[in-house]
């Protein structure tokens, strides 16, 4: 289950924080991807599959490493099938990642304080990076970015986001 706490609501930059993130990871045994795995999952580096509502369902963020946030039954079943076929392993990573959502015109500038955002992300839809001293997964959205950080970093990360946002808005 995901519960969202809006940290800041402001036109130019909103930051939302999602407390507990249900998620699953699939790790393919072989890379480059072969056979069914390559056919069924987004195989390009940094590729993201989205559902009809535009939500990301699969993020290919490492070689043969996929994050499935909030997977539905059908996706879980597909991944289990791949596991049974000996092509990879499914891991329940509920609680491992904490999700932030940045929207608004200032969100790019905010992230640019810590990483060359133009370089990392537009060439791909998701990227594994190191941001504000925390491991992070970046996902490009139409209105901004999703950022996943390991749960233990979430408090420090959120404090940094809020502080930077304050300074940028008042600059």
């Amino acid at each position: 289950m995901n519960t969202s706490t809006s940290l800041i609501m402001e036109q130019r930059c909103q930051i939302q924080s999602f407390a507990t993130t249900v998620a699953v990871e699939f790790k393919a045994f072989q890379y480059p991807l072969v056979g069914t795995v390559s056919a069924e999952l987004p195989s390009e580096p940094g590729a993201v599959r989205r559902d009809t509502a535009g939500n990301a369902t699969l993020l290919h963020y490492g070689p043969g490493v996929f994050l499935a946030p909030l997977p539905n039954e059908a996706l879980l079943h597909r991944l289990q099938t791949l596991e049974t076929a000996g092509l990879g392993a499914v891991f329940d990573v509920c609680g491992q990642w904490h999700q932030f959502r940045l929207t608004g015109a200032l969100s790019t500038r905010l992230l640019s304080s810590g990483i060359d955002i133009e370089h990392c992300v537009p060439r791909r839809d998701c990227a594994a990076v190191h941001l504000f001293d925390s491991p992070a997964l970046l996902l490009l959205q139409s209105t901004g970015f999703d950022v996943w950080v390991p749960a233990s970093y979430a408090t420090a990360f959120s404090a940094t986001l809020v502080r930077l946002r304050e300074r940028l808005i008042n600059a």
Partner: protein
């Protein structure tokens, strides 16, 4: 305090009629909005801005930019001051307070200057030769008080900078004529362009140079160029100087208005970098050339054009090139009175003769083949002494109050000399220009030694077009801007006027550091012949202006003194940052609360609310002890440990590393990475396992659980989790990339609560409820059971790191706090790391102090595990002869012989109290409440490690020696009855 008001409103590019005020040395002055402190004070006729660093000579403004060597002010009041801020770059903001530096009691009357009767005392390197007897310390306080420039702040009041990472195709450094031409070419080609300009406006010398470009005036052309760049989406950053970088990264620093406020550090990665940072005007050395009122010619032009400030009433110009005349015409046209132009060149072209004639016609005396030999007027130029270079005996005295000097322009090579960039001597430029550069960088314009407008516009346009093409921007660029400005300078090198040997002490080369010609001569005579050595010995070229005005001048004079060509002498290398930055700017975002990242467990908030005292451990905040249990860590630790053994306790163990390994080959993979086999484990069981490094040393230990036939959970030491994950990932990639095994890190996903002590099982049964009763009662040592509690998954492992009956609860975040609180309510007291350490040392359990990378498994008493013979990483290296030597230390326990002395961690183990040969050392030591005395784990040479051996634990740092006796490392409950209850 009376307000000093200006006499009339000035007109200049950057000043408006709006009034502002500020303080300088306790007086308040008016100024116009847009003024800098320098322009405002000059407008008020202020001539003294500070005193020089060594000789405390009165000094005034010399330049109009970061090359200012003299007018460095302290901004603010203690404890929050910023020293050494260049007055020409300091914008006037409300309530601005500034002070001159390096003078006492006042700028006008400085006591230390009066005391320096003979300034020869403080020549170059004086501190290596004087103030030695009886020792340096005698003089140190006095020297430190006198030395340096400005005062350090007593407190930090500077907000962290903004930081921005920027990517672009073409970076252009400088928005002068060459920079704008280059930016236009790149933008038209379709490249993404970023331009960095250190001034608040674009244009560079076009600000005052009489020029037409593409049939527009210079100012109009600059405006239309900027408009075109804006339309093309190029970014122009003002107040932003390139300050350094390396390996393809360029760092730029934006400091709007000086004084380290609202500044931004840009980290730029361009595909191509066009360096168009121009050239800096330099002076000429003559006697007393440092007097207030001696100023760079271009600076005077800038003060006039930008701020409407006349730097003097009777001006004399002195230099060695044709631009003297163009400048003179501009100054004259603006109503300034020019008394004379002193031109060192005797043999000149027809063009020059014509220029001179025109100015003579305006009433300006033009003296060719002459040079200024000396300046008179300690607190400001009164008159100058001019000599005929052909007839050195003749002296002419000219009264004036400002002497504007120009000895030529030195290309700004700071960025071009980085990353393997080379320079070469260019005679026509009179100095050094950029030579071979890494393929992604090129120098254009004055920076490359091209001073003529018409030429540099074309050159930089074409260079940028080519660079843009090479990164794939193939748009049509059209033709280069066509322009005409001042005629070619026709410079003839002239570095210093002739003078006597004694007078060389007053011919200043580097104004900021008080380096004179005499100092250069002294350095050479003492054997410092390389320009880099001369720099360090004389301090030529250090400080805020990094030799901009004095570096090449000094090198040329060294060349003269050595009798060598300037091309061979060279110039010293400047160091980044090329303009001063505060430490706060350099630190970027990592300061204050964000100095280092902190990681928190799911139980952190509860711990914080309940008196936990935290200790940082590998970025985690871990509970060391709880305040309620003692006044300090030592007392609280003992209380908590006692409580665990007597009744029970709970520990937040969430930082424990957890790695899940899955796949048909997972078991075989773990067999390879652990000293003993994982494949023999049954599902539902766990095992204590040890990892070796490839050289055989113990790397880590932990419990491995078999969750399913093809799924394991490996736990690692808390501080080691990421390292062990990398270790696993390395071998998976190196040897197992075609097998069926995958790894993932689940350290954050599971909270871990350790429940330990004789009452632990009973309390756990009460809390978890009937559903768990049977499971818990039947759970044997190293078994685990998975089920649910309050709707979420819970895994209970029976294992112990305290030697007590204990359980490790792995649960998801949602139930972590409720479960913890329920256990507290059931009577279990939380304990922290301090107590954990006591409990584990009592049982001889290991942490990184023992598994320190120098201990083999046999050293740690794991012979039994080794003898099982599993072929794992590191095994092959265990058989090395040195590991069997009798003196090799192995793990033992120690107790104080007298039953009460403190055993110090790190103490060296010897045979006697006078022995200095160490047999080993103490790795962990604690006060054991169970035994009522200090106990330790230590490494001791095998041939001295028999239990009962009496040795000495020597602590040379604290000067204590304690007699100790060797025991088993398991101090308490050696048969482990409590744990297996």
């Amino acid at each position: 305090m009376t307000l000093r008001r200006a006499l009339s409103t000035r007109r200049g590019h950057r000043v408006t009629s709006q009034s502002v005020s500020f303080q300088f040395d306790g007086r308040e002055y008016t100024a116009q909005a847009g003024d800098t402190v320098a322009s405002a004070l000059l407008a008020h006729g202020v001539r003294l801005f500070g005193r020089s660093v060594k000789y405390r000579r009165p000094r005034g403004v010399f330049a109009a930019g970061p090359e200012e060597p003299n007018a460095l002010l302290t901004v603010g009041t203690q404890p929050c001051v910023i020293p050494n801020v260049s007055a020409p770059q300091l914008a006037i903001t409300p309530q601005l307070i500034t002070r001159s530096q390096n003078r006492w009691p006042s700028l006008r009357v400085d006591l230390h200057a009066l005391l320096q009767a003979g300034s020869g005392f403080l020549g170059a390197g004086f501190y290596y030769k004087t103030f030695m007897w009886p020792s340096w310390r005698t003089y140190e306080t006095m020297i430190r008080h006198l030395a340096g420039l400005g005062e350090a702040p007593g407190a930090a009041d500077i907000a962290p900078p903004h930081v921005e990472y920027v990517s672009c195709d073409v970076l252009v450094g400088g928005a002068g004529a060459a920079g704008l031409a280059a930016a236009l070419a790149a933008a038209r080609a379709g490249a993404r362009v970023v331009v960095c300009e250190r001034e608040p406006q674009a244009g560079g010398e076009l600000e005052f140079e009489t020029a037409t470009i593409d049939e527009q005036s210079a100012t109009e052309w600059v405006s239309s160029a900027l408009a075109e760049l804006a339309r093309a989406g190029a970014r122009v950053l003002y107040h932003t100087a390139i300050v350094g970088g390396s390996d393809g990264l360029v760092i730029a620093h934006a400091e709007p208005g000086g004084g380290a406020k609202d500044n931004t550090v840009y980290r730029i990665r361009p595909q191509k970098f066009v360096m168009a940072m121009g050239a800096v005007e330099r002076g000429i050395a003559f006697v007393d050339n440092d007097r207030p009122g001696v100023m760079l010619l271009g600076a005077a032009e800038r003060y006039l054009a930008r701020y409407g400030v006349a730097v003097g009433k009777e001006l004399v110009l002195f230099g060695n090139h044709d631009r003297l005349y163009a400048s003179a015409q501009r100054l004259h046209a603006a109503g300034m009175r020019i008394r004379a132009i002193i031109d060192t060149r005797g043999d000149v072209s027809a063009v020059t003769i014509g220029l001179r004639a025109r100015l003579t016609g305006m009433g300006v005396e033009c003296l060719g083949g002459h040079a200024v030999a000396e300046v008179h007027g300690a607190h400001g130029v009164r008159r100058i002494c001019v000599v005929d270079l052909q007839a050195p005996g003749t002296k002419i005295f000219i009264e004036c109050d400002a002497l504007l000097v120009s000895g030529g322009w030195t290309p700004m090579l700071q960025a071009a000399l980085h990353d393997g960039g080379q320079r070469e001597f260019a005679a026509q430029a009179g100095g050094f220009v950029a030579n071979a550069q890494p393929e992604w960088r090129t120098a254009v314009g004055a920076c490359a030694g091209t001073f003529e407008l018409s030429v540099l516009l074309t050159e930089s346009f074409r260079a940028a077009a080519q660079l843009s093409q090479s990164v794939g921007a193939m748009g049509v660029v059209g033709r280069a801007p066509v322009g005409r400005g001042d005629t070619a300078p026709q410079l003839q090198a002239f570095w210093r006027s002739a003078c006597t040997r004694a007078q060389e002490k007053r011919q200043f080369v580097d104004l900021q550091n008080d380096v004179t010609v005499a100092d250069l001569r002294l350095a050479l005579s003492e054997g410092f012949v390389d320009i880099e050595h001369i720099k360090r010995y004389t301090t030529l070229g250090i400080g805020t202006e990094q030799g901009r005005t004095g570096g090449l001048l000094g090198a040329a004079i060294v060349a003269e003194l050595k009798g060598e060509p300037l091309s061979r002498v060279g110039v010293s290398r400047t160091r980044p940052p090329y303009q001063p930055m505060t430490l706060s700017s350099l630190a970027g975002l990592n300061q204050g609360d964000a100095l280092r990242v902190t990681r928190r467990t799911p139980l952190h908030a509860w711990n914080q609310a309940n008196g936990a005292v935290f200790e940082p451990a590998e970025y985690w905040l871990r509970t060391r002890y709880y305040r309620a249990n003692g006044t300090d860590a030592f007392t609280a630790g003992i209380q908590e440990a006692t409580q665990v053994r007597a009744h029970g306790g709970i520990l937040d163990g969430s930082t424990l590393g957890k790695i899940e390994i899955a796949g048909a080959d997972a078991a075989a993979f773990l067999d390879r990475l652990y000293l003993t086999k994982a494949s023999t484990m049954k599902v539902g069981r766990s095992k204590y396992m040890v990892n070796l490094r490839e050289d055989g040393m113990v790397l880590d230990d932990g419990i491995v659980l078999r969750l399913a036939p093809n799924r394991f959970l490996a736990t690692t030491g808390s501080g080691h989790a990421e390292h062990m994950l990398s270790h696993f990932e390395h071998y998976r990639a190196l040897e197992w990339s075609h097998r069926q095994v995958a790894i993932t890190n689940l350290t954050e996903a599971w909270a871990v609560i350790v429940v330990a002590g004789p009452e632990s099982r009973a309390a756990l049964i009460r809390v978890l409820g009937e559903a768990w009763h049977a499971r818990l009662s039947g759970l044997t040592h190293m078994d685990f059971s998975v089920s649910r509690w309050n709707g979420q998954t819970l895994r209970v492992l029976r294992a112990s790191f305290s030697g007590e009956l204990a359980f490790e609860l792995h649960c998801q975040h949602g139930i972590a706090v409720p479960l913890w609180e329920a256990l507290v309510a059931a009577g279990l007291q939380p304990y922290g790391l301090e107590a954990l350490d006591i409990l584990r040392v009592e049982k001889g359990y290991l942490v990184s102090s023992e598994m320190n990378g120098e201990a083999t498994p046999q050293d740690l008493g794991m012979d039994g595990l080794v003898n099982l013979g599993n072929e794992c990483v590191g095994r092959a290296m265990l058989g090395r002869p040195a590991f069997a030597e009798p003196q090799r230390p192995r793990l033992v326990g120690l107790r104080a012989c007298d039953g009460k002395s403190v055993i110090q961690g790190g103490a060296q183990i010897t045979l006697t109290t006078t022995d200095t040969h160490a047999l080993g050392h103490v790795s962990s030591s604690v006060y054991s409440p169970a035994l009522g005395q200090w106990i330790a784990l230590a490494f001791v040479a095998r041939d001295r490690a028999a239990p009962g051996t009496v040795l000495v634990a020597r602590d040379p740092l604290r000067g204590t020696d304690v007699d100790v006796v060797v025991t088993s490392p398991v101090h308490v409950d050696s048969s482990s009855e409590r744990m297996k209850a």
